[in-house]
């Protein structure tokens, strides 16, 4: 087999090994993927579902987990009228199989060898690839300082809330700040609002620290946040974005 053929990306079979409800509309699927080559934090996979009549459809999902042999976790948010998310969140069960291609994406990745402080800004389900970065950081015992700013509609829609609380306590060097856009917890000092420049400025890193910035979420959110960061003095080339498309 030539080098090229070995390195062509092929569809693999993923088997659902576990299912975990994260929020009312998001679920984590633990997959076993035979021959999984490992992955970098922030990479994604393409998932392809094929019906009995041959109709097939595919979508991309960010990998939520740190590399762990043949185990890969995807956290999927239900999207209204979403063909693939309807199955993955609503119907998939342990033992189900579907096709998966990856890992792909060398741009929106964080590698532990990168020493700069990291700013992660998540909108809704945009938290998924950023969580992979947080988990890889912990897995390798990195001391690179991480700050996550997580914008959600209301407290119940925050994915991984318990794990993030535990990691802030245990991982040393991770800070998490929430921004609520529709409904805030009782006693929250800020009225519900879209993530503002002031909030991001106080919860993030100063531009002088030259952090590596990763922004992920719906397209409108990502554009607004990227503009805020550039206005605050962050160099555009230090800001990496992953847009998920319209809000689901």
């Amino acid at each position: 087999m030539t080098e090229l053929a070995k390195r062509r990306l092929v569809w693999r079979v993923a088997a659902v090994a576990s299912v975990q409800e994260e929020t009312a509309s998001a679920r984590t699927l633990g997959l076993e993927v035979f021959g999984w080559p490992g992955h970098l934090a922030g990479q994604h996979v393409d998932v392809r579902l094929t019906a009995e009549d041959g109709y097939s459809t595919q979508r991309s999902y960010s990998i939520a987990s740190a590399p762990d042999g043949s185990s890969v976790e995807l956290t999927v948010q239900q999207v209204p009228d979403g063909e693939v998310s309807a199955y993955l969140v609503g119907a998939a069960q342990t033992g189900d199989q579907f096709e998966l291609r990856g890992p792909v994406g060398g741009y929106f990745t964080w590698r532990p060898a990168e020493m700069a402080p990291v700013l992660l800004v998540a909108g809704g389900s945009g938290i998924v690839p950023l969580m992979s970065m947080i988990r890889v950081r912990a897995a390798v015992g990195s001391r690179v300082p991480f700050r996550l700013v997580y914008s959600v509609r209301e407290p119940g829609s925050a994915i991984y809330a318990d794990e993030l609380r535990r990691r802030v306590r245990d991982d040393h060097g991770l800070d998490v700040a929430y921004a609520y856009t529709r409904a805030a917890p009782d006693g929250w000092p800020y009225p519900p609002a879209r993530l503002s420049a002031a909030r991001l400025g106080e919860a993030g890193w100063p531009a002088e620290f030259e952090p590596a910035c990763y922004v992920c979420g719906p397209t409108g959110f990502v554009e607004a946040v990227a503009d805020i960061l550039v206005d605050a003095g962050h160099a555009p080339e230090r800001i990496k974005t992953e847009r998920f498309g319209p809000t689901g």
Binding site: H44, V45, G105, G106, Y107, T241
Partner: protein, 88 residues
């Protein structure tokens, strides 16, 4: 209502089927306006048949990828060149 788009990260899987390297980290130059950037930073429209990547500066089409059952068409006329990092 404007079409909304995602970014060039979406192209990673489809292009990795064709190329032995990750094309999304290649830098390209738009034929329309001369803007340079990484393929990952392009605006990608995925609601039509196939994938269309447009320049984030001038909206010109950079590339089109259409996949059939046993072939793929890749139209790259919107980029002057693609520069690939190839570590030793």
């Amino acid at each position: 209502m404007t079409d909304t788009y995602v970014d060039g990260n979406e192209l990673a899987g489809p292009l990795r089927e064709l190329f032995a390297v990750d094309v999304t980290v290649a830098r390209g130059r738009c034929v329309g306006c001369g803007m340079e950037g990484m393929v990952a930073q392009a605006h990608v429209y995925d609601r039509a048949p196939g994938l269309v990547a447009r320049c984030r500066g001038c909206d010109a089409v950079l590339l089109r990828l259409v996949r059939g059952p046993d072939r793929a068409w890749l139209d790259l006329r919107g980029v002057t060149y693609l520069e690939f990092p190839l570590p030793e």
